[in-house]
Symmetry: C2
Amino acid sequence: MVRLVERIKEFDGVLHLYQHDSEVCGCTMSFTVYLPPQAAQNEVPVLWWLSGLTCTDENFRVKAGAQRYAAELGMALVIPDTSPRGMQVPDDAAYYLGQGAGFYVNATQSPWSHHFRMYDYITQELPAILAGLQLPLSDRQSIAGHSMGGHGALIVALNNPGRFRSVSAFAPICHPTRSTWGKQIFQVYLGEDQAAWQRYDACCLIQQGAAALPVLVDQGTADEFYPQELLTEELVAVCRARDLPADIRLQPGYDHSFHFVATFIGEHLRWHHQRLR
Amino acid sequence: MVRLVERIKEFDGVLHLYQHDSEVCGCTMSFTVYLPPQAAQNEVPVLWWLSGLTCTDENFRVKAGAQRYAAELGMALVIPDTSPRGMQVPDDAAYYLGQGAGFYVNATQSPWSHHFRMYDYITQELPAILAGLQLPLSDRQSIAGHSMGGHGALIVALNNPGRFRSVSAFAPICHPTRSTWGKQIFQVYLGEDQAAWQRYDACCLIQQGAAALPVLVDQGTADEFYPQELLTEELVAVCRARDLPADIRLQPGYDHSFHFVATFIGEHLRWHHQRLR
């Protein structure tokens, strides 16, 4: 059952804060849907947003300033949480594991595998929940995200050809099977067999021939995790090798924070909007 | 001594996060200055922003989306904290008293009077600190705020004629000497003598003949504190009685949150910018 927890008016549209009991994650999950003013008349295209480490569905709606552009362009925003949550859900003292750090994978290892199934949650359960709400959302959908969520947006789009018209990312973890961060996390969630990691790695998916779709990436050069944990240049290389339509931009002086996201979110929404028409 | 704690690039300008030892407040204080890209060439006009209950200088810079407009218009933002802070500073379990709730007054009552001197901090100490930093800030300045900070912006502007070109507020506490909230707080900080409260009450100051300046107020009709704690209609009445140039607008369906502030902050910055030319 889905509960509408709060409605908040913003830019003449409405933020809808929902909670529901997730079968896939085995806990109560939260998500936010922003409907722009145009949704009062017509179905509107949708941008999914996947957030980064430590975030809930609140961070993006409060910090990015995206609703201003969504209202101008007539796009809905769908903003899930980043992991299962609650007393019964395993956690870890490290900020990059456990609650707030689902990494958009289906964990296969104990004790994570019962709850940490964010890949299925994002690609199957939440779309079905949304369909049941009968909101004025079009099938024209794109996806974007930040950091861990940029990684999530890329792997979800690449693994589901035809589902999204375009994908964009801010400071994504581009090649987790090769970064210290990624290796640590995938080992815990997915076990020792590195072959099982590759379906969750954007660079591996592109190398293995994933269907092309328009890609936009912004990466700040003053980002504390760039380049060693993000491996942006590896994404550039695999896209170039396949001649894919990827625009991967270095932004001088910008860091990893939401101030960076806020600076370029308007461009990302406009870019997706052109591909959603 | 003022310490530059962090520089964060946003919208091609730079957020500067400062800390300093405040003589007036008897503790370390934080504040943020946003310099738009135009400040690299010329002095830029300044908008002061006073935040509401529970806020630090972080909330506005993270949640309001103001830097986008400041960068477009070429305005600096000066964002102080809302109260003294630290182990040695008195506090209270109530969110509307103590740390995070300075109310922009000079407290006269024990134990508050040693630290809670936000009126002098905003009007004297912080301007002197800023002058010492030799930032490219013009004398053309305006002031704005939200809730408790809307009250602060109004009383600071009304008590300092000629200092600010314009004042605006989101959901301000308009008449604290008459609201339950205001009376509770003023009694604690200022004591029983209600005559001493009036210099911190926008409606009283206007009734008593404060010099006119352009005023813009936005108030959401779905605000949980409207009208009983905010008394917006009292501000309308005293401005009308003196035929002051005040534009006080009710915004249907908006609440008290930063989603409301974000929706209208662009209009406020443009409105101030016209008066700062």
